[in-house]
């Protein structure tokens, strides 16, 4: 079983090496079935997806359609049961060992015994960065998420939204080329969310990072993305992939433009057609 999967992996790797040097994520015929006590759960079924360097890809769809699972497969937190996937041309495991990505979980997952600064510094300690480098990165990224001045606070002293921002700063501090974000702004209020959307977009435009972003919000998906992947559940699969032709440097007022509304409309139609509104 594993030998077979291994052979397949190598085959895929070779194919991709000759394919595109800018290909960050290449997923082919990928499926993942969880064996549970109530029988198999088909979290992902027959997923085909390519993400190029510099793409901002949003995943949108109702709860349970496999968005989190897909992100976790890319991050090597889950193993697919069929199909193949490469990250930066290598297996997800190798990519993870190369520290290819930063991951923002749906929950903040801050360590309660570390201060906010200590939490942001955690991955940097593990990477073995020098003290001064760590301090610089912590300060820079806390400022980016508007948390300067909260360095010495403990997580429980911050609101849920602030905790989530700290966890974003922690992922950014790694300075990865690939950011995997699972509903990072889901718990935040509208204004903070808008602000962070703009910040994220600026960061992305400036650094040519690749972002894979899970969201529940149609405006957020359309505003941020170059590519929007609409998923539908049971089994979790891709219903539609929308390439956005909005300019790369956007401001929040773009949300009133006809092009924006047109894409938003198509996303909404996709969600409807995937019967996502039934539950």
């Amino acid at each position: 079983m594993t030998a077979l999967a291994g052979a397949k992996d190598t085959e895929m790797v070779e194919k991709h090496k000759s394919a595109s040097p800018d290909r960050v994520i290449d997923i082919e015929k990928l499926s993942l079935t969880f064996e549970t006590n109530d029988g198999p759960v088909h979290a992902l079924s027959d997923i085909d997806l390519k993400i190029e360097q510099g793409d901002f890809v949003s995943f949108i769809g109702p709860s349970g359609c496999g968005k989190t699972t897909l992100l976790r497969v890319i991050a090597d937190l889950e193993k697919p049961t069929a199909g193949s996937i490469t990250v930066n041309g290598v297996s997800p495991e190798e990519a993870r060992l190369n520290r290819a990505y930063g991951y923002v979980f749906q929950a903040a997952a801050l360590y309660s015994w570390r201060t906010i600064a200590g939490n942001v510094a955690l991955p940097l300690e593990i990477m073995g960065l020098s003290r001064s480098e760590r301090q610089q990165r912590v300060a820079r990224n806390l400022e980016l998420v508007n948390l300067s001045g909260f360095e010495k606070k403990y997580p429980w002293q911050l609101s849920g939204g602030m905790q989530q921002r700290a966890s974003i700063a922690r992922a950014l501090a790694v300075e990865p080329d690939l950011l995997l974000m699972d509903e990072p702004f889901g718990a935040l209020d509208e204004i903070v969310r808008d602000h962070l959307n703009e910040q994220l977009l600026q960061l992305w435009a400036k650094t040519s990072k690749t972002v894979a972003f899970v969201t529940h919000s149609i405006p957020e998906a359309v505003f941020l993305s170059t590519k929007i992947v609409v998923l539908c559940p049971r089994p979790g699969r891709i219903y539609d992939v929308i390439e956005s032709d909005l300019p790369r440097d956007r401001t929040l007022d773009i949300r009133e433009s006809p092009e924006f509304l047109k894409i938003a409309h198509r996303v909404r139609e996709g969600l409807k057609a995937g019967h996502s509104y039934e539950d």
Binding site: A75, R99, I126
Partner: protein, 307 residues
Amino acid sequence: MTSNTFAPTRSLNPFAGLMSGTAGPVIVVVLAIIGAWYIGSVSLNTPFQLDTYERADRTDVPFSELLSDTLSQERPVLPAPHQIAVEIWETTAEKKITSKRSLIYHSGITLSSALLGFLIGTTLGILLAIGIIHSRVLEKSLMPWIIASQTIPILAIAPMIIVVLNAVGVSGLLPKAMISTYLSFFPVAVGMVKGLRSPEVIDMDLMHTYSANRLQTFWKLRLPYAVPFLFTSMKIGMAAALVGAIVGELPTGAVAGLGARLLSGSYYGQTLQIWSALIMAAFVAGSLVALIGLVEKLALQRMGMTR
């Protein structure tokens, strides 16, 4: 019902204030215990006292005299609290610490081997736990033995440990400490296995995304998670270590230590000596547990784990 709206009137009743804190209930319980103790002393010591009167041919002893006599016997079946208090006072404050009659001297002997055994036991418990959580083989091979070790009654194994160690030339502090070790490593090992395994899945996932190695995951995640567990099991282990040291003094006929005081007290029917040694042992155990509790509070405060 409307009186509820005048909540501040509650504070006018001093007794209500006393009972709402922790001190009030504790005092009530202590008084109840002391009261029950006196009743027990009088009734348990009465038969002997009546015997004495009979032998002295005294028939019409007034009740008040009987009462005071039962509370001042030299070798009462159950000494009264004030007798024990006097005995403790005489054997602590009024004796030099180096004196063989000083309870502090004897406590010190027992305490030193309990502490040594506790240190070794805690270290051993932590090491075992680290091994067990990192290796399935170790878990499968060690866990049954660790559990089985605690099903053997300590009273059965203590003399053998002492005798065997004496035979190979190890005597003094160490054999007693080994029994403390034997009793205290277990709660620490079990508590630490639980603590080191307690991180949430998402916290482990985070470490996984950083490709942290086992050592980093241990220091930066598992160990901090286990700290509260460690303190809880150290409190249990400390009390057990003290019991172990006392038990370790019994089979050798040791001449010093709280266990020796218990033993010689029971040889000569010196109930006052037995009870004051018991109270002292409880006091020492309580102080040590409280001390660990204090360190725990400081440590958790430093780790930002207390609000």
